[in-house]
C-alpha cells in the first residue's frame, strides 16, 4: 500500500497526472497567474458563466487600500442588460416546490435568497483555505487574510468609502447601530442631550438609543410621519434647533412602507447644526447605489444577508476621523496594540472594533455577493425593483377592500409593499398565501411605533428583489383575492 502511494507520488511529474489534488494545485497556479500579487484561491469548480469580478481593479485597490470613483461607478452600472431569467437561474432555492406550487419568495426585506456562487464561495473557503486571519504566518492563513481584506475593499468601493479602513465588519445592522450607540454615544452624549429618531424606524434603530438615553439621561425626539408615510420635515428642523441635540439616527428606506427618505438633505441640515448622523441603510444599500461621500453621512449601517450575502455579517461605515476618536466596543484579541495586566492600548480602526475572531467566511461570502450584485448593476436592480413595485401597486390596488400603506406613488418608494385586506388579519393572509407557495411577511415588522402611527396591529408585506418576476406578483394578487373570498371581504 505504502509503496504504491509512493510510486504514484513520484509519477506526479507526468503531465497526465490528474489526481484531484494535482488538478487543484494546477488551478491555483493558473489563478495566481491571472491575478498577480493576489493570494486568494480562485474557484476550482468550472463554471460556464463569465467571471463576475473585476480582478485587475480588485488587486490594485487592495494594494493601494482605497477605492476610486471609477471603480464605484463600475458597481452601479451592470455589465449587460438586465435578464431576470438568467438571474433566476443563479438561485437554487427557486426550484423548491411549496404546497405543490413553485416557491414565490417575496420576503426579501427580511432576508434575500442566495445565488449559487455565494453558497459555493462559502464552501470554497472552508474546503480550501479556512484559517484565522491576520495572525498565521502560513500559506492558507495569508490567503484567508487576503480574501477577508479584499471583501472589505469591495464594500468600500460599493458605497464609495474613502478607504477600506472605514469599513468595520459586524454581525449585522443591529450590531452596527449598537456599536455606535455604545462607543460613540457613551463618549459624546451626556445628561440632557438629544437624539433625533423617526417614527418609521426599525426596532434596531430605536432600542439601542433607548438604552443609551437611559444610561446617560438623554432624550429621544421623534420626527413624525404624514399619512402617506413621508417624514414631516418641519418636525426634524424643530428638533435640530432644540438645545443639546447630538445625533440623528434615521433609516434611508422604511422596511415597512418602502419610503425613500431624503437623507442627503437631512444630513446637510444636521451638519449645519453640528450634529452627527447615522443612516440605517439595511433596506437601501441592497437595492440602489449608495455613495457615502456624496451623502456625507457620519455612519452608515447595513446587513449582508439582505443583499445576497450570508447571515451574521454586516457593515458599519464610519468616517475615519470619527472612528479614530472612538473607544472600543468589545474588548478581546485582535483589537489591541499592547496588553498589560492592568491596561491596554488599542489598534487603529477598523481593527479596534473587531475583537475576537470575526465571521471570516461571512465577510468573504459578502464580498462575493457584492461581485454578483455589481455585475447586475445597482441601477439595474433599482429599476427592476421599481417596475415590480409599480406593477404590484397597480394590480393589488384593484382588489376590493385593499389598503396599501406608505407613499401612494410607487416611484417614490423601494421594493416594499405593505397592505391589509378588509378585516383579514395579516397572519391569516400570510397563512393563506403560504398555501399557494407564496412567502410574505406578516406582523409588525419590528416597527411597533410605526404600526401605532398607522393605527393597525400588523400588515402583510411583500418585498421584491433581483430574481422576482411579474408572474409572481400575479400569483400574489390572485392569492390575496382568494383570501378575500375565503373571508368574504
Amino acid at each position: 500500500m505504502l509503496r504504491q502511494r509512493w510510486a504514484a507520488a513520484s509519477n506526479s511529474t507526468s503531465p497526465k497526472a490528474t489526481s484531484p489534488a494535482a488538478a487543484a494545485t494546477a488551478s491555483y497556479r493558473k489563478a495566481k497567474n491571472r491575478l498577480p500579487g493576489l493570494a486568494v484561491p480562485k474557484s476550482t469548480t468550472p463554471t460556464t458563466k463569465p467571471p463576475l469580478t473585476f480582478p485587475g481593479q480588485l488587486a490594485q485597490s487592495t494594494v493601494r487600500g482605497y477605492a476610486t470613483q471609477k471603480q464605484a461607478t463600475a458597481y452601479i452600472h451592470g455589465k449587460a442588460p438586465y435578464d431576470v431569467e438568467r438571474v433566476r437561474h443563479d438561485f437554487p432555492i427557486l426550484k423548491r416546490i411549496i404546497n405543490k406550487k413553485p416557491l414565490a419568495y417575496l420576503d426579501n426585506a427580511a432576508t434575500t435568497q442566495k445565488p449559487l456562487e455565494v453558497i459555493e464561495e462559502l464552501a470554497r473557503f472552508y474546503n480550501e483555505y479556512n484559517a484565522n486571519v491576520h495572525r498565521g504566518v502560513y500559506k492558507i492563513s495569508e490567503e484567508a487574510t487576503a480574501a477577508y481584506e479584499q471583501a472589505r475593499a469591495k464594500i468600500a468601493r460599493l458605497i464609495n468609502a474613502n478607504s477600506p479602513n472605514e469599513i468595520i465588519f459586524v454581525r449585522g445592522t443591529t450590531e452596527a447601530i449598537n456599536l455606535v450607540a455604545q462607543s460613540w454615544g457613551r463618549t459624546n452624549v451626556g445628561l440632557g442631550d438629544g437624539i433625533i429618531l423617526t417614527e418609521m424606524e426599525h426596532h434596531s434603530n430605536i432600542v439601542p438609543w433607548q438604552l443609551l438615553a437611559k444610561q446617560k439621561g438623554a432624550h429621544l425626539k421623534y420626527v413624525g410621519l404624514t399619512d402617506d408615510g413621508h417624514l414631516i420635515h418641519e418636525d426634524f428642523r424643530r428638533h435640530l434647533e432644540s438645545e443639546g441635540v447630538k445625533l440623528v439616527a434615521m433609516t434611508h428606506v422604511s422596511n415597512v412602507l418602502g419610503t425613500i427618505n431624503p437623507v442627503r438633505e437631512y444630513i446637510r441640515e444636521a451638519h449645519k447644526q453640528g450634529c452627527r448622523i447615522l443612516v440605517d441603510a439595511a433596506q437601501s444599500v441592497p437595492h440602489m447605489p449608495v455613495d457615502v461621500q456624496d451623502l456625507d453621512c457620519d455612519f452608515l449601517a447595513f446587513s449582508g444577508h439582505k443583499m445576497c450575502g450570508p447571515t451574521g455579517i454586516g457593515v458599519l461605515y464610519g468616517k475615519k476621523a470619527i472612528l479614530e476618536e472612538m473607544p472600543p466596543y468589545h474588548g478581546g484579541g485582535e483589537m489591541i496594540r499592547e496588553v498589560h495586566l492592568y491596561e491596554s492600548t488599542w489598534r487603529d480602526p477598523p481593527y479596534r472594533f473587531e475583537a475576537g475572531t470575526t465571521n471570516i467566511a461571512g465577510a468573504i461570502g459578502l464580498g462575493r455577493a457584492i461581485d454578483y450584485l455589481s455585475e447586475l448593476g445597482l441601477r439595474n436592480i433599482q429599476a427592476h425593483d421599481q417596475e415590480l413595485t409599480e406593477y404590484a401597486h397597480d394590480t393589488l390596488g384593484k382588489i376590493k377592500g385593499i389598503k396599501i400603506y406608505g407613499p401612494e406613488n410607487p416611484r417614490t418608494k423601494a421594493g416594499v409593499i405593505s397592505f391589509n385586506l378588509g378585516d383579514v388579519h395579516a397572519h391569516d393572509m400570510a397563512t393563506l398565501l403560504d398555501e399557494d407557495g407564496i412567502a410574505v411577511r406578516s406582523g409588525h415588522h419590528c416597527a411597533q411605533p410605526l404600526m401605532e402611527r398607522l393605527g393597525v396591529s400588523s400588515t402583510t408585506r411583500a418585498s421584491v428583489y433581483v430574481f422576482n418576476r411579474e408572474d409572481e406578483i400575479d400569483r400574489l394578487v390572485e392569492s390575496v383575492a382568494r383570501a378575500g373570498r375565503v373571508f368574504k371581504v
Binding site: 405543490k100 383579514v424 391569516d428 397563512t431 406582523g443 396591529s457
Partner: protein
C-alpha cells in the same frame, strides 16, 4: 392542501360566541403573543360548587386566535374548575381541526394558555403547572 380556514373557524371569527366581559368574575387572566400581537383576555364566573357558571373572552388578533378562544369558552361552560384544568392542547386543536405550522400553533393555543393561567392562579400554581404553561 386543505385550508385551516374552515367555514366553522370563519364563523366563530365573524360571529364570536361569548365575547365580552364579566364584572363579577372570580377567575381572570390576559396574555399576548408578542410575535404577532394577538391579545386574549378570559373571565370565568363560578358558582358555589366551583362550576363555570359563565365565561367571556375579549381580545383581538388573527382568526385562529379569536375563533379558538370563542370555541374554548363554549367548551368550559358548565365544567368544574378541576375539569377545566384538565383540558389539553389536543382538545383545543381538535376543535379547530386542520394542520397548523409551529408559529400558528401559538395563535391557536394562546386562549388555552390564558385560561390555564387564570385557573392556576385561582387554585394555586405549583412548579409543574408553571412548566406546563411555559410549554404552551
Amino acid at each position: 392542501m386543505s385550508s385551516i380556514y374552515s367555514e366553522i373557524i370563519l364563523d366563530y371569527y365573524r360571529y364570536p360566541r361569548n365575547k365580552g366581559s364579566l364584572p363579577n368574575a372570580q377567575i381572570q387572566a390576559r396574555d399576548t403573543n408578542p410575535l404577532c400581537g394577538d391579545v386574549i383576555e378570559m373571565q370565568l364566573e363560578l358558582d358555589e360548587k366551583n362550576t363555570v357558571k359563565d365565561v367571556k373572552f375579549n381580545g383581538q388578533g388573527c382568526a385562529i386566535s379569536q375563533a379558538s378562544a370563542s370555541m374554548l369558552t363554549e367548551l368550559v361552560k358548565g365544567k368544574t374548575v378541576d375539569d377545566v384544568r384538565k383540558i389539553s392542547k389536543d382538545d383545543v386543536l381538535s376543535l379547530i381541526g386542520g394542520q397548523l405550522t409551529a408559529v400558528r400553533l401559538k395563535c391557536a393555543l394562546l386562549s388555552l394558555k390564558v385560561l390555564k393561567t387564570g385557573v392556576y392562579n385561582y387554585i394555586g400554581a405549583t412548579e409543574s403547572t408553571k412548566e406546563e404553561l411555559s410549554r404552551l
